[in-house]
């Protein structure tokens, strides 16, 4: 399987700097240090509990299709960030990047998507972590100013 899909994957080490754990112990299932990117068509997007899920039909270079499962944060978490059942639409073509499953199966934990128009949707947690890093930069600036 890995051989067949290798052409679709763009594995980048720690592209997102190590994603923090979701409350269902993300690290037990997914590799937080690596990411994969696939391009495909959304066949399902369910804002369900405990975590939202998406199915993505991905066509390999040899014409074969794989159904990738994309897992998201919990519905409560996504809803608080303004997501809804309509955030992704069936039939939409997306380039999706996420953390791959340790098992090597066609699963990932969502980091971000880019649609055909270039619109980017990021995991809310990553937006928060960006904000945290900005706060750290501000604290460093204050510390440096005091010294």
């Amino acid at each position: 399987m890995k051989t067949r899909i290798i052409g679709l994957l763009f594995v980048s080490i720690a592209l997102f700097g190590g994603v923090s754990s979701a409350h269902h112990s993300f690290f037990a299932v997914y590799d937080g240090q690596n990411t994969v990117t696939v391009k495909g068509t959304v066949t399902q997007f369910r804002m369900v509990n405990p975590h939202a899920m998406m199915l993505l039909d991905v066509t390999d270079t040899d014409g074969s299709e794989q159904s990738w499962t994309v897992e998201f944060d919990g519905r409560l978490h996504l809803s608080r960030a303004g997501w809804s059942r309509d955030t992704f639409k069936i039939g939409e073509v997306l380039e999706v990047t996420g953390n791959p499953a340790h098992s090597g199966s066609d699963m990932m934990f969502f980091n971000q998507s880019v649609d055909a128009n270039g619109a980017v949707i990021r995991r809310p947690r990553l937006e928060l972590e960006d904000s945290i890093e900005e706060q750290r930069r501000q604290r460093r600036a204050q510390r440096d100013a005091q010294n």
Binding site: S25, V48, N49, S67, S105
Partner: protein, 263 residues
């Protein structure tokens, strides 16, 4: 709470920048509370944390040698320090032998089974508190769980069996809501197993500006713990949030297999 932890809590509250809210929680404990502030310390306590861990994180964040290390790297180091210095020393041989539960084995995740007391009280997102004449209700968004805390001095029913959320009694005195819980069914405590001997004493307080609800909970369990284990959680006053029904729980493997995508 020790003087050190109290002092640290005060320092933490100073560090936490609060987004402007419509109004403080003038009604005391009652109302809607939700995830901690979006700060390095708040995110560290997203599920639960300890004062030891917060102090460790603070030292790491303040050390210029760590300026180029990511926040996730630093929180990972702080959490490892907590495991080594706080958690592992109090776990019994039985608990260690039972092993740490992988998140992949979380019954809530795999079987859509609601969390037990020692996990539910730390559940992320909303916790709506209602104060009644003879009881308090805590409504957690995760699993849509309602927890009753009796404040009329009653005792647990005779022959009461352990249950998911146990039997809780409480009182509010001098600005602290104290809750004692017994009859908790065996379950998970920070990914470690606990027995049905688990008891908990919770202390809830509200910051002076009414914006932060802090919980210190001390667990005791002669099967799992050699000494009491004290853990902390923080919520932010969130009057604009609401709790939606926790429906449509789908076991991830069912979701995958039903679409023929299992590998």
């Amino acid at each position: 709470m020790t003087k050190l932890s109290a002092a640290f809590s005060s320092a933490l509250l100073l560090l936490i920048s609060i987004n402007a809210q419509a109004q403080p929680a003038a009604s005391g404990f009652a109302g809607m509370w939700s995830d901690p502030p979006d700060t390095p310390e708040g995110l560290f306590c997203f599920f639960n944390c300890t004062d030891y861990g917060l102090a460790a994180l603070g030292r790491l964040l303040d050390d210029p040698a760590n300026d180029d290390r990511s926040y996730n790297e630093l929180t990972g180091e702080a959490k490892r320090a907590v495991n080594e210095a706080v958690l592992m020393p109090v776990l019994t041989e039985a608990a260690i032998a039972a092993g740490r539960t992988s998140g992949a084995d979380d019954p809530g995740f795999l079987n859509c089974e609601p969390w037990g007391f020692a996990k539910e009280i730390f559940s992320p997102h909303q916790n709506e508190i209602t104060i009644n004449a003879d009881h308090i209700v805590m409504h957690y968004a995760e699993w849509d769980a309602y927890r009753t805390i009796y404040t009329d001095g009653r005792s647990p029913p005779e022959n009461m069996q352990p249950s998911l959320l146990g039997f809780s009694t409480g009182s509010i005195e001098a600005g602290t809501l104290t809750v004692n819980t017994t009859h908790i069914a065996a379950g998970l405590l920070n990914d470690w197993q606990h027995s049905d001997e688990l008891t908990a004493e919770e202390h809830y307080t509200i910051s002076e500006d009414g914006q932060i609800l802090t919980l210190y909970v001390s667990f005791q369990d002669s099967w799992a713990l050699k000494a009491p284990l004290t853990v902390k959680k923080i919520w932010k006053w969130s009057p604009d949030e609401e709790i939606y029904p926790y429906d449509e729980c789908i076991i991830p493997t069912d979701f995958i297999e039903s679409r023929g995508a299992a590998r």
